[in-house]
């Protein structure tokens, strides 16, 4: 009996799928694959809802994420062990696009920065819990259909990172990474989402976050986010100090209504002063 190519392909795919027998989940199919494991869509028979399930070799990642309750971190519903001994955890199934596939063509700059800020807030929160992401990149950020942002694939010890988004000390295999490795990756993420010809100050912010020497980067993620906020408020950013002329110009732009009113007051006084002399 001959098997057609499509049947063979199907059999191969089915063989690769993990066995969820004995769990409450009904497997639907693979939706992604990362360095630490594959992610599947599944149906939770008990709660009658679709979930995403990540199958991996250890339970560390599940424990790490379970300790991070944040609006921009995908919540974990359940964790367990498959019949073949591998660990899995079930999480919210996010409908949306990965940031690397997110259509950025017509997205305004403010929206691009909002995405980075949401990611940064999640990473900053994780840092306060002593957790580093270690592999922050667009492929690990989901943008939901309502604009919600989720940071996924929280790294565990030993993750090598992704070259384009990896801090030099991480690439060199430094034993003790700290939160500044994530600052670097967030800077790379910022550079990734920026349009082709971004404002000078945003380029400077990304460049400061991506300094090869960790000591030259922002001290932490909130410092980077504050600089992004300053940029959006029309203020000078730490990464690119203004000259005196630029400071004056920025002040004038920010306070143009007040300056116009004060100028009107002075003009009225001068006008009245000269009218009296006529």
């Amino acid at each position: 009996m001959e098997l057609s190519d499509s049947v063979l392909q199907h059999l191969r795919a089915v063989v690769d799928l993990p066995d969820f027998g004995g769990t409450r989940y009904e497997l639907e199919g693979e939706i992604g694959r990362g360095g630490l494991g594959a992610v599947y869509a599944a149906f939770d028979r008990q709660l009658q809802r679709r979930v995403a399930i990540k199958v991996l070799d250890g339970e560390e990642e599940a424990r790490v994420i379970a300790g991070l309750e944040h609006p921009a971190i995908v919540p974990i519903y359940d964790a367990g062990t498959l019949p073949d001994g591998r660990a899995y955890y079930a999480m919210k199934l996010v409908s949306g696009e990965r940031l690397d596939r997110y259509p950025r063509g017509d997205v305004p700059l403010s929206e691009r920065l909002r995405l980075v800020e949401r990611v940064g807030e999640a990473v900053a929160f994780a840092h306060t819990r002593g957790v580093l992401h270690r592999d922050l990149k667009p492929q690990n950020v989901m943008v939901g259909s309502f604009g919600e942002v989720y940071v996924m694939d929280w790294g565990v010890e030993g993750v090598a990172g992704t070259p384009q988004f990896r801090a030099p000390e991480q690439a060199s295999g430094a034993a003790a990474l700290d939160h500044r490795a994530d600052v670097y990756a967030l800077g790379a993420l910022l550079r990734f989402v920026l349009p082709a010809d971004p404002p000078r100050m945003l380029r400077a912010i990304a460049a400061k976050a991506m300094e090869p020497n960790p000591a030259d980067r922002y001290g932490d993620v909130p410092a980077l986010l504050r600089d992004l906020q300053r940029f959006q408020n029309g203020q000078a950013v730490e990464a690119c100090p203004d000259s005196r002329w630029q400071r004056t110009r920025r002040f004038a732009v920010r306070n143009q209504v007040l300056l116009l009113l004060l100028a009107a007051f002075v003009a009225v006084k001068f006008f009245l002063f000269f009218v009296r002399r006529l």
């Binding site: 007040l258 009113l261 009225v268 006084k269 009296r276």
Partner: protein, 115 residues
């Protein structure tokens, strides 16, 4: 500092400065003290009303319009009492009101919401 206090402080200071420019008019120099007090009180009252308005309405445009009109009305009252110098009192009163309106909208904490 809440918006009413902000309005009172800025209003009094701007009113004082407005009155102080009367020093450049030699014929009114002898009564400069009275002008300073009157102008400061006028500014203070405009600031008070503008601060109250800013607590109710969060709009730069309407804040400036309201304070300008109030400033103009107070200036008109003073000009009526004086019986002359209408232009010298009305014009600066109007512009000072606009500045106070701007400042009360921009500065000062909004009123506390209670549940």
């Amino acid at each position: 500092m809440n918006k009413i206090v902000t309005g009172i402080v800025f209003g009094a200071v701007l009113g004082f400065l407005d009155g102080a420019t009367a020093w450049f008019t030699p014929e009114v120099r002898p009564v400069i003290g009275g002008i300073l007090v009157g102008s400061s009180i006028k500014g203070l009252l405009v600031g008070l009303l503008s601060g109250w308005f800013a607590r109710k309405v969060n709009s730069m445009k309407w804040g400036i319009v309201f304070a300008s009109v109030v400033g103009l009305l107070f200036a008109f009252g003073i000009a009526l009492m004086q019986g002359n110098h209408y232009l010298e009192i009305l014009l600066p009163g109007f512009v000072t009101g606009a500045i106070i309106g701007f400042l009360t909208q921009r500065a000062g904490a909004p009123s506390k919401q209670t549940v």
